[in-house]
């Protein structure tokens, strides 16, 4: 319990200390800490690792099908993905808890075809500096957290896309 409280406080402190300068609708993440690893199965049971995308900009979105603002932003994420993938940017959605069947049904309904992995135990999600859904991070080609956003965004907004592309260097 004590460790859990300390963990929560550490995350809160990290978020407070993060530099809050805006870049469009995204917040800069302080000194760009290294992103925690993600090794999880996608909806087809294939293992996806964040490390495999080193050298590319990656948008990592933590979400759940039952979270209203997560549902709200998914159509714009799909629209953004259609452009981003043509420009070498990776999108990875991490569903917190749940089962592949539940998520597959949702993805099918919304026509999502970007990579989705399932964090069934939420262990991976807990290792990231966030506690609420949705939270999205933009990872630079060096594998460091450059930006984050709490709450839904319109991910195909030109300002956001420009911020993401600027990380490609």
């Amino acid at each position: 319990m004590k460790a859990r409280i300390l963990q929560v406080l550490a995350v809160a402190l990290a978020m407070v200390m993060a530099t809050m300068a805006q870049a469009g609708q995204l917040q800069q993440f302080g000194e760009r800490p290294e992103a925690p690893e993600i090794v999880l199965e996608n909806l087809d049971g294939e293992v996806i690792s964040l490390a495999d995308f080193r050298g590319r900009v990656v948008i990592v979105n933590f979400w759940a099908t039952w979270c209203p603002p997560c549902r709200k932003e998914m159509p714009s994420m799909q629209r953004a993905w259609q452009e981003l993938r043509e420009n070498g940017v990776v999108m990875l959605a991490v569903h917190v808890g749940g089962t592949p069947d539940q998520v597959w049904e949702f993805a099918s309904e919304f026509g999502l075809d970007f990579p989705i992995v399932i964090d069934t135990t939420s262990k991976v999600s807990r290792s990231w500096p966030m506690r609420g859904l949705p939270t999205t991070f933009v990872i630079d080609p060096g594998g460091r957290i450059a930006y984050f956003a709490l709450g839904a965004r319109e991910w195909d907004d030109p300002d956001i896309l420009q911020t993401v592309y600027a990380l490609k260097g």
């Binding site: 319990m1 859990r4 409280i5 929560v8 406080l9 995350v11 809160a12 978020m15 407070v16 809050m20 300068a21 805006q22 609708q25 917040q27 759940a64 039952w66 979270c67 209203p68 603002p69 549902r71 709200k72 917190v96 808890g97 749940g98 089962t99 069934t120 135990t121 939420s122 999600s125 506690r131 609420g132 859904l133 956003a149 709490l150 709450g151 965004r153």
Partner: protein, 187 residues
Amino acid sequence: MSRPVSIGHGLALLVALFGAPAAWAGQDGRVFLWEGEGLRLETAALPRDQVIAFLLARGFDSATAGAIAEEGCIFRSAIGSFALAPGEGPVSVSLGDWRVMADGQERGLRLREDWAAEMARRGADTAAAIALEWALFPSEQSFGPEDYNWGLLSFALPPGTPFDFTFSWWKGQSEYRRSFTDMECSP
């Protein structure tokens, strides 16, 4: 601009904020709204049948789902920054500081960590408990411009209990405190 508002039957506002989430389509309660000093807080009681439906869909058994709905006094909530200028803030909340006044007694909310311990004590389904944990609002959170989180607040009072609710937050170095009065758990 600062305005505490109690909005009767304000589903339209929630729909405008969240779209039309299927899980909460029948919600029809009073909406309590605060916008000012950097904070936006919007909250509304969830009918117990909707709480139970949500929990059953997450994998809880009916006994546990019913107990959470009975004990929880669950409100759906959106908390975030309000009208922050670039470089201003952040706005921070600590739900452990928020207070409930009911029947002449002051108490705290039942937090995410409290429910996690309760679910462990009950031996609840692990996947369901994970969903409940992430559905409850984080106990500590900071918001920059445009940021908000969605989540459930648990006032942990019996069904139908009237109460007043005092919430506080920090914007930069300044602390603020406001109250909603005449709130009520879903009967």
